[in-house]
Symmetry: none
DNA sequence: TATGAATGAGATTTCATTCAT
DNA sequence: TATGAATGAAATCTCATTCAT
């Protein structure tokens, strides 16, 4: 069967896709602002411009909405990261590759709404083992793989010294995570300039790694 | 009034103090495990071995309990930090002072229940501006002051290069915060060895700062 | 207007009739299994192989569907009962007529899906005065009329003693109703053999009535 | 430990017991009138003169309330039946024992609010396998045991003929169940006089059984 | 006629907080 | 001071019904 669809069906499907995307946007906005537990389904619905009942046509529960939002926001980004970094990759020095990856991260996660997702995972993770696992496997371990390959590359080329330590990835990327958290939590008291901060981070990190 | 107290009054006060401390311990345990919103006053009361009603004799509300717990757990530590670091301070190299501070932090915060407080602040901060302000002013800015003075000391002595960047403190301490979060959230998937991690952190950081 | 119909109209009407009948079957199945309140229009629609919207083209509301189902299932049966019993009637003894009626009832109601209707009327009756009235007037009082005429016939012929009591019909038919309920509710715990039970019922009843 | 209770504790406990009993009464009234699914917890609470929240201090859920109500209403009765019938038992004829049992049933179940419980079990049974099992095991099979021993007694004494049939108990008791249902469902259309009905029932039954 | 997306009123349940004892 | 029963506002989720296509 060639799976022929009538124009009406196509329109309907496109509409549904758009709805889903609207809901995900609204959910990120509301969850980011209020946290998972405090957020109300009513608020998300209102933000998405639909009724509460409609929400449940797209997501079975509040938890499912949370998970769906994280997936919907992070998966496309990961694909983009892989194609972008990999594409530009081969002829760069390890230093430049690291810079590239970190700037990608700052630009596409930390400087956007997505940084709230990281905070939400930190905050709600223990209550959502399922989601935490997904996040670890899909986002973190992939990011770590890219990072590790760059470091290895750098050591082989003699750009980086051998840092034998445990948890290098976490130490290296920590600055970014903290920037995201700080921006959300403490910015009112001591604002942070993400661009400048990014450069400091790269600076200290590269210096700390260099051979 | 010379504030003379009968022995009975003294005993009563000591008892009250003990109660309060028990409640704070219970609150940390419960909040750390479940998060603020999910935690129930009942659970805290039970954990503290008292009734729900009694809880309200010590703390006016759930929020007040949260704040009281954070204060009760962090303030004594800060005093200890200041006396400990300051005391041993003057004749050490900047490197050693930095090491000292960071190890204090790893030993007294990250390796104990207190690390959950940091996660809770990250998670719930935006819902508690009042508490966030307190935390920033009392904990973070004091920690930052110590850190900054060490860095300045190191630059003067020619130990550290001048890192002009914005957000140096955050970059420098980030590793610790992330260690705390990672331990709580992702440890089941990829365990982290805090001691080894601490050394990696210090290693990369000191190398990244050295002149 | 002579009500002439085109073949197309005829086909359409037959189709509609078939649909309606499918829906009634589905409704009986679902209501019987779940009870009125728990049953969902969605489930009925799915069972009938149509969409929820279509259901409302045939029945205005859930209540209307319930009533329509009861009518659709019981009315044809009553007509059949009357023609069958009446037809065979005159030359039989009262005993045999009673046997005939009771066996008809066991065969066409208790041993089929229709027994659930009786249970539903018992269960939901008070919430549907309208339907209860219909059921009483259409099903029960007609059944009672047949029963009473048989008893009268039997007394006149000297087959039955005069049982002056109030509620003889209910007492007499009770066994059947209870069989239906038992089969639905307690069969898992203590199964009931409807055929054997029918004979016990007739046996005790006829003996209890005989002159 | 002698389990000494303070007067205050005793008072509190008595109060709780009274509350529970009030709730059970209210629940029976409401469930009897509206059926399980249609009944609202609000209505039960209001009927019991308490708030909705309080209801949940005594019963964990609507289902638990339903079960608790059935237990609370039926268990005491069963104990009473056993002591009453057994006590008066030995020197009576089987006929009189049967009459005694049936009149007990009419007087204590059918003529009171409790008859609604039977209807509720019939109506909601399939949705509460747990409760149905309890009801069968606790109420029905015990009632059946009493009935069976009387019949056997009667056959041994030559009072009753041997009715070999399957389901004799159900046939015999059916009249009572139907009386209860009829009173609840069809009384508005054709009222039933329970006392007279009881005698008809006993009359036909004893005659149908006699040797 | 048939569909299924959308609605929103309403239900159960939870839990911070109060208060009489 | 300590208790725990009581409250009621509020949240999640359901589902009969409507309506545009």
């Amino acid at each position: 069967m060639p799976e022929v669809k009538t124009p009406a069906e196509n329109r309907r499907e496109a509409h549904k896709e758009q709805r889903r995307s609207d809901i995900v946007d609204a959910a990120l906005k509301v969850f980011a602002r209020d946290g998972f537990a405090v957020s109300k389904m009513d608020t998300v619905a209102e933000e998405a411009g639909i009724s509460k009942g409609t929400l449940y046509l797209y997501f079975d529960s509040k938890e499912a909405l949370f998970e769906g939002m994280v997936r919907g926001k992070m998966l496309p980004l990961l694909e983009q990261l892989q194609s972008e970094v990999m594409a530009a990759g081969d002829d760069l020095s390890a230093k430049d590759m690291l810079r590239l990856q970190m700037r990608f991260f700052y630009r596409n996660v930390l400087s956007t709404d997505r940084r709230h997702i990281m905070r939400l995972i930190m905050a709600e993770g223990p209550n959502f083992p399922h989601l935490t696992k997904f996040y670890y496997e899909t986002v973190l371990s992939r990011g770590k793989a890219v990072f590790t390959s760059i470091i290895k590359h750098g050591i082989e080329r003699g750009e980086f010294r051998e840092v034998s330590g445990h948890g290098l990835m976490q130490v290296a990327m920590a600055g970014g995570l903290v920037a995201a958290l700080w921006k959300t939590v403490f910015d009112p008291f001591e604002p942070i300039d993400l661009d400048a901060y990014c450069e400091t981070h790269i600076d200290v990190l590269l210096d700390g790694l260099k051979a």
